[in-house]
Amino acid sequence: MLRLPQFGVALPSNVDAVVALLRDNPGARIVAGGTDILPNLKHRLDEPGMLISLAQVSELRSIAKLAHEGREVVEIGAGNTLTRVSEDPLVRELFPSLATAAGLVASPLIRNMGTLGGNVNLDTRCRYVNQTKFWREALGGGCLKSEGNVCFVVPGGRNCVAAMSSDCVPVLISLGAEIVLAGPEGQRVVPAAKYFKADGLRHTVRDDAELTTKLRVPVPTTPRRSAYAKWTVRKSIDFPLVSVALRFDLKSDSVDAPVTELVVVAGVLGAKPRVIAKLDDVIGKPLSDPALSRIVCAAVGKQCKPLENVPYEAPYRRRMFEVFTRRAIAELVAAG
């Protein structure tokens, strides 16, 4: 039995009321699906005096295609459950890699509860942090992210390297999504690629007084192939041990057409997802060209440096980042 710490619960019914509650109650935390924060509270990683539940904030649950600043976008409310995101016809048609990623999060039960906004703001995870308080005490008093002041992953390290473990985040970055925040000063829009920081204690630029209200994903303007690759030991429940999102924009609707733009993003390294750089040699090559797969996989293997912050040995995970990238590209090519 894991008891929650004592707290009060507020049940506002709209975004304005949530923002007002956040402003008036410093230290209050937001709870949507509860599948991330409640286990963390049961493990005593935080003891907020108040939780602000989004259970009654129905305005966060729309999914709609609309014109925004001269381009077509799909706005996905942050309160949509991951099940809904993975099954929504619009998301499946326009952003298949996002539907895949949302449908691979944890288990069906957790996807029925957990929200897209919660997955974007998922707290960073580490094998030395996400344990019971009793377990952490056995380490001699926790680590940088819990009660202590040492790091067990990087001995002597002063910067927390807990892993950004969201399945949807690498995909949202690869799709060029924007994150819309509501705060006391009004609305703020942050590109997903600039939302994360390399600090496991505070890995997003979201202020404590801000609420993630929606994700704005641009509709593709060219033919596209996209994929999300995830490796876990079990086929369900687990957080990713390897996580790669790929997006290839093509000149025409064929895997033999030249690639005009590509984005490859890896998760579960440190606190910040890694956008793979130096892929310019791939532009102009057909997606089906084996050289393309070799260049992309080599860049992923070179630039992804996993740490022992989640289960499995880092050198093995590093190899698997390459392997899963190669398989994902091969599947895209095979699908035509």
Partner: protein
């Protein structure tokens, strides 16, 4: 510890209970309402033993704040026996679990029944073994190896599609 009055809809009935604000739905079900069919296993979302349905969707009662379930229709394993499909106080799933020996220690069974019932309702036809595997992917069973659980769920979906006389 201040307690708040909760008004919940559970298995089709309005119930009221006083409980601390930080209690989960599972704690209120078990320790205030004596509905101990939903089990407290890992208590952090890994095992699925606490699965109940909220507005028809299977969710984890151990990670649902009780006050956030107010105004929504909660269904527990205790409510399965008086669903419209039930006969002699027994849902076809429960009957199939009995006939297939799909429960050994039985601790995971209430959660699995609630996940499986939601699947049968959502699909509305005879289910495939892969659909059952996917739907039960959040419910751990340490005894059976799942084979007989899957057998039972498929059998129950066949019974619901075309009831047969098994006297």
């Amino acid at each position: 510890m201040a307690e708040a009055l909760l008004s919940l809809r559970i298995n089709g009935e309005s119930v009221h209970a006083a409980a601390p604000a930080h209690w989960t739905l599972l704690e209120v079900l078990r320790y205030r309402l004596d509905l101990i069919g939903s089990k407290q296993g890992c208590d952090k979302g890994d095992c699925g033993a606490c699965t109940v349905q909220v507005d028809g969707e299977p969710v984890l009662a151990c990670l649902t704040l009780a006050c956030a379930a107010a105004g929504r229709e909660v269904r527990t394993v205790e409510g399965l026996g008086w669903s419209p499909e039930a006969s002699n106080g027994c849902h076809p799933l429960q009957d199939a679990f009995d006939r297939w020996d799909a429960a050994q220690c039985g601790f995971c069974t209430p959660g699995i029944l609630m996940s499986a019932e939601a699947l049968l309702r959502k699909v509305g036809r005879v289910v495939t073994r892969d659909e059952v595997r996917e739907a039960l992917a959040g419910n751990l069973c340490r005894c059976t190896g799942y084979t007989k659980i899957i057998d039972a769920v498929v059998d129950a979906s066949e019974m619901l599609a075309a009831p047969r006389d098994e006297t």
